[in-house]
Amino acid sequence: MASDTAGLKATAVSRSESAPDPAARGWSRRALEAQRLAGRLAAPLWLPPVVLLMRFVLRWRIRDAGRCRREYAKLLEEHRPLLVVANHLTMVDSAVIGWGLGSATSHVVRHRGLPWNVPLQRRVESSWLWRTLAYVMKCVPVPRGGDRQEVAHVLERLAHLLRSGETVLMFPESGRSRSGRVDPQVVADGVGRLIKEVEGCRVLCVYLRGDAQRTWSNLPARGDTFTIATRLVEPRTGLRGLRASRDLATQVVHHLVELERDCLEGRAAS
């Protein structure tokens, strides 16, 4: 086991070193390190109030959160890249998933367990307040519908974070699912590209749904109780180039479809 881990680390370093110079591509590792440090220092200030807001003002509950957190904590102990991939129904999914994967205390103490997010650049840049919050809340904004090279730079940053032991949360359907169900026809290839780029990347598929959630919305209903179903996978492909990215992303989305089916069937049965 120890030798396996050492092998993975060695591979990750060599891939990282062979990657294009980040400074030349419009971002720097130092800037990410600074953001990580700022996030860590600010976490005790914003994490507990956000969790208190969800728990006592919005009265949200997560079913079986203890099991979910124990499993996630075990995954973090392995020190291998971990990408969290989830379905997307509301604008606060990332906050609820973060809460489901760890308590405010655990995220403050082990800050790398709080996943990085990839919000829309347009939304983040709408005000200085959002920019500041996004900075300390571990966000790497992504442009939608824009230059693919800019998106590629965002993916490079995320790959660097994954290799350096951080977790990243992505929604492979790009936006919130308009049908309220995971749509395997709508697959953003970024997830697949990241899995392909990061050697030994594990993927934690997370299906999140509130009992009162019928379709997509801005916020879950007040007093809603969430089910979080998870599945750890390590997708592989024999394809190359763009087809490999598409294949890997599609595999992940199909896992989400299966988790959704199990979740909805379980709900119907009870």
Binding site: R148, V186, L242, S245
Partner: protein
């Protein structure tokens, strides 16, 4: 294959993805695929995969990232076929 032939085929491939079919009538090498033809950015990968099938080429992620205009696509395909 000549540049004209490749352009013709590229435009044919772009047709089902372009939300602005009128723009296809006046398409040139400078036409931006996303803003000019209103192709959904998420579908750009499907477009490049269609290029791969139609021309029997393989496109790397980095090469696909550089495709902004119809001319970029034509030059990429020309380079792969050469």
């Amino acid at each position: 294959m000549t540049e004209e032939k490749i352009l013709e085929k590229v435009v044919e491939i772009l047709k089902p993805y372009a939300k602005d079919p009128a723009a296809l009538a006046s398409v040139s090498l400078e036409t931006n695929i996303l803003s000019g033809l209103k192709v959904n950015s998420a579908r750009l990968v499907d477009v490049v995969l269609a290029f791969e099938d139609a021309f029997g080429i393989e496109v790397a992620d980095d090469d696909a990232d550089k495709v902004e205009t119809v001319g970029d696509a034509v030059r990429l395909i020309q380079g792969k076929l050469a």
